[in-house]
Subunit: 427 residues, 2 copies
């Protein structure tokens, strides 16, 4: 049996600098996943900085005092390893996936690129071009674009509502000094978490990290501005075959005790083939191919979202049925579907415990939100404790036709029926 | 250490019916991945059947004598399991991911839906609508669509060149009798492989499978028609921000001894951040965000492909640089990059050995191509044995400006410079 307390496999150390390290040793593995989470995502950006957290993440791969951009790529791939990075709302993560013996190399490279990047002007100009191409690619992909649109509809005029990628214009304007300023404010050791799982030794890793993450810096992070949800509307006319639709409702912050209920509500509404929306909209009515719900949470806010893609003639029926389903879940949730949703979350957790990549994500999320790793048994108990009335109360608090932020991309004929939702901010 | 021979963990049994079973027990896991591979993908379709293999895969989830569509979804998700399926060129795979104790249930459901589906007319009509939505979604996603276009440019007028999804018209026309006919010709036990990995017991699984896969049938598979590669061109004018481009060259069949060289060539050209094309086109010239190469192989053919997305003004330069890089690799491949590509493939293999989902895919692929599981040590030896001259010979045999099948989706201004390639089949 997997030890659900996992207490002897998970170890945590805080360095003098404030940098936190957490590891889970999986003794049967020959490979490791590790990453550095910096508490600086797009929400840390000032209004004129839209896209700078992501640009900084890209520039981390473009050269340091010790390594050219090419050397960074060649050193990690020479041992068959992989580097990657992703910029989120509240953090930016730099990942490595390597064989056991290459963990020290991965730490050395990650520490180097996070602390010592140079922002060479020629490299910066080229990378601005690369990100402009990335923005164009996102614009061409309706089920990327619609998620940016709903973010703006739900959190207008706030950093949490702006695209992580920035805009062509904002990206063009950034200089090395802008990057330095953002980095200096946000990239301090006490804003960083290193998480590793798989074939790793905690003490050796901590020693390596203490050696390599030696830059001393006091963060001067801007005071957090609370997220303000708005039931806005953002419809974009494009000559496509489908309307790609997202509806978003104000969600639950990560530390709120209702987070388990929010995950269960999302699962039973649109988390699998047996979920209410999949059964009613795809299986019974054949209205779409892709439909699902999700719930994301940050420190003070969250979003309960629903994606569906359908033909322009089917949008009105689909949106009506969605609103009906959301409106009636509080009165009709039953024990069978709640137990099924619990089984889905618990099995998903068991599977994630066997994957070092999933495990580091989860541990870093816990450490940043709760300053401790929640043991699997406690997570399972949290899921088990949710009752039908918890779900009903939450659904009642979250859903309602005048509470939906709505975004869609598609042909004009398919957008008209969505004009009943929210206040328009289409451009 | 992982036992690279893996001989005592991998076991294989052929049932009297001809159905083959292969398992790898991973004693430290509490979950299992399993799947059934049927040797009937889109290549098994006759001309009038385009899309029927994929429709049949969808209809497998729409009800049997014992289970309604809803019951199939509810039974697996009640234990937190997942079912999924994917239709390929030469096979269709039905997957389950479950906790240890639920392996027998997963086998029972998979056997039921693969052997006993009903093709109820009302369910069929609805599912035809769902697949039409799936086709529309693929049309709206340029980096899906362009892969269908290159398949058609490279293998015109052949089942291997047609979209696995079929067309709106072909899907609309199919009846339950058509599905029965395709199933009867192709879904015989000796055309099936069951692969399982993780917390599984070989003998118990074989007994369950012998019980549940009881339908007796002689396949009457159509004689294979050899794939004929063509250097065609397929350009589609769409009002997008980028041109999404794929170039394809005739590749290496899966049983060809040059398959290791093909994988290494793809890796060193476009398999990571240190690869030639990534370095030259993204890092040195800033021409794109996404660029990568791939090589897929089937029984008698393969495709060496390259994807890139770029702005209309950059297409000409990008295509020129790609052709120059491909033309010079045979004369310039060096030991450092070859060793790096080998390290990437070997580390990727080590990581896949730790994932039950990756492992079942690999074992099913081996069994269907070689009728045995190639031990990891033999795969590594195959990679190690490739020399610079093997790479040079292969590159020389594969690449050349008049040997490229070219497909692109994007604004007309960006397509013009691609008209120098291949023979046009744009519509």
């Amino acid at each position: 049996m997997i030890d659900l307390s996992a207490s002897d496999r998970v170890r945590q150390t805080t360095l003098e600098s404030g940098l936190r390290v957490v590891t889970e040793t999986m003794p049967h593995l020959e490979t490791a996943a590790l990453g550095v989470w910096v508490a600086a995502g797009s929400r840390a950006e000032r209004e004129a900085e839209n896209g700078i957290a992501h640009l900084l993440e890209h520039m981390a791969f473009k050269g340091t005092e010790r390594r050219s951009a090419r050397a960074i790529a060649e050193e990690i791939e020479a041992v068959g390893g992989e580097l990657n990075a992703v910029t989120g709302l509240e953090n930016t993560a730099y990942y490595a996936r390597v064989l056991k013996d290459d963990v020290p190399l991965a730490i050395d490279i990650l520490a180097d690129i996070i602390q010592n990047s140079l922002f060479d002007p020629a490299e910066l100009a080229r990378e601005q071009g690369v990100i402009m191409q990335e923005i164009m690619a996102a614009h061409d992909t309706p089920d990327d674009l619609v998620f940016d649109l709903v973010q703006d509809a739900a959190f207008p005029g706030q950093s949490i509502g702006r695209s992580v990628l920035g805009t062509i214009d904002s990206i063009r304007g950034f200089t090395a000094a802008d990057l330095d300023d953002f980095l200096t404010r946000n990239y301090a050791p006490d804003q960083m978490i290193v998480a590793a799982a798989g074939a790793v030794d905690h003490d050796a890793l901590v020693a390596d990290i203490a050696d390599r993450f030696s830059v001393v810096r006091d963060a001067s992070v801007d005071p957090a501005i609370p997220a303000q949800f708005d039931a806005g509307r953002n419809l974009l006319d494009r000559p496509l075959e489908q309307v790609h639709l997202v509806m978003g409702f104000s969600g639950i912050p990560i530390c709120d005790r209702r987070i388990y209920a929010a995950q269960l509500l999302s699962t039973l509404l649109g988390g699998g083939m047996s979920s209410r929306l999949f059964q009613e909209i795809r299986e019974r009515r054949g209205l779409c191919y892709g439909i699902y719900t999700y719930h994301w949470a940050v420190s003070d806010s969250g979003l309960f979202g629903l994606y569906a893609g359908t033909g322009p003639e089917q949008v009105e029926e689909l949106a009506d049925v969605v609103m009906t389903e959301l409106a009636q879940v509080d009165d009709t949730v039953n024990d069978i579907e709640l137990e099924r949703a619990k089984a889905q979350l618990k099995a998903g957790l068991m599977m994630s415990l066997e994957s070092p990549s999933s495990r580091i994500d989860q541990m870093a999320r816990h450490l940043s939100a709760f300053d401790r790793i929640i043991p699997p048994a406690e997570l399972i108990a949290g899921v088990e404790a949710v009752t039908r009335s918890d779900i009903a109360e939450l659904a009642d608090a979250v859903f309602g036709p005048d509470r939906a932020a709505v975004a869609a991309v598609g042909p004009e004929a398919g957008l008209a029926s969505l004009a009943v939702f929210g206040s328009n901010r289409s451009t």
